[in-house]
């Protein structure tokens, strides 16, 4: 690993990762808050209960893959070696991916002409290697209900 090759380079990479990673996270959280207000018009339900009316059922999907920054990855690597499980994926990182995936699902529903999504499911998958924290995906799936005019 870099850590053993050159301590100065490693220090620079870790500090840059820490600072830039935090800045990226903050910018993403601000962006999420704004877009979540915009997409609040779409109702999302985990249950599969069908409201009254005639609807076309459209499968909608949203996904997002995120990875920890160099600092968190390195900390996670050493914590994994010390015996704690799957460290380095802080809850905030996965939560960001989850909110982003849900937003993309809502965007897909809106462009299909739906105001309601039912039967929502989340799936989280780690694409990481054996002991280095790596990419994690959150996917959201559901059924968008597109109103049909009475015929």
């Amino acid at each position: 690993m870099i850590v053993r090759l050159n301590p100065w380079l490693a220090g620079a990479v870790l500090s840059a990762g820490y600072v830039l990673g935090r800045r990226d996270a903050r910018a993403h959280l601000r962006d999420l808050a704004v877009r979540e207000r915009e997409s609040a018009v779409v109702r999302v339900e985990a249950g599969a209960g069908m409201p009254a009316g005639d609807f076309a059922c459209v499968l909608v999907v949203g996904n997002c893959v995120v990875a920890p920054d160099a600092f968190r990855r390195t900390v996670g690597y050493w914590r994994n070696r010390a015996g704690s499980r799957r460290a380095g994926h802080d809850e905030q990182l996965v939560e960001r991916a989850r909110r982003e995936a849900l937003l993309r699902l809502k965007d897909a529903a809106r462009s299909a002409g739906a105001a309601t999504v039912i039967d929502l499911h989340f799936e989280t998958t780690s694409f990481a290697g054996a002991d280095l924290p790596g990419p994690v995906e959150v996917m959201a799936t559901g059924t968008a209900l597109v109103p049909r005019p009475p015929s």
């Binding site: 599969a48 069908m50 996904n63």
Partner: protein, 109 residues
């Protein structure tokens, strides 16, 4: 072809179940050798190339499932579920499955 996570469709009745249909693809991307992902490796956050890879892979898996359903003469695939399995670093299988059925317009209002 109607493809939905639901087990029933409003104003339609299932006339026959044609059994399980599925589609899958395996994709791999090595982040260490992907130059576009190089900076992302440092900063962290969203890896757009991975997000796009997963999206495309599921799209292809869906197309395969729909082709299979169509060859059975199905009108819809119900109870659709996705499953993702990491097979190694940067490698994953994207699976989608559901029940192929034939439909008719519901008689009762």
């Amino acid at each position: 072809m109607i493809v939905t996570t639901l087990e029933a469709i409003p104003h339609r009745e299932v006339t026959a179940s044609l059994g399980l249909v599925n589609g899958s693809t395996v994709r791999a991307k090595n982040i260490a050798t992907d130059l576009r992902a190089g900076l992302r490796n440092l900063v962290g956050g969203e890896l757009a190339v991975y997000t796009e890879m997963a999206r495309e892979a599921r799209e292809e898996a869906l197309q395969r499932m729909v082709a299979q359903a169509r060859s059975l003469g199905a009108d819809a695939v119900l109870g659709v579920r996705f499953n993702t399995a990491a097979l190694g670093p940067g490698t994953a299988e994207f699976l989608v499955y559901g029940t192929a059925v034939t439909l008719t317009l519901a008689v009762s209002a």
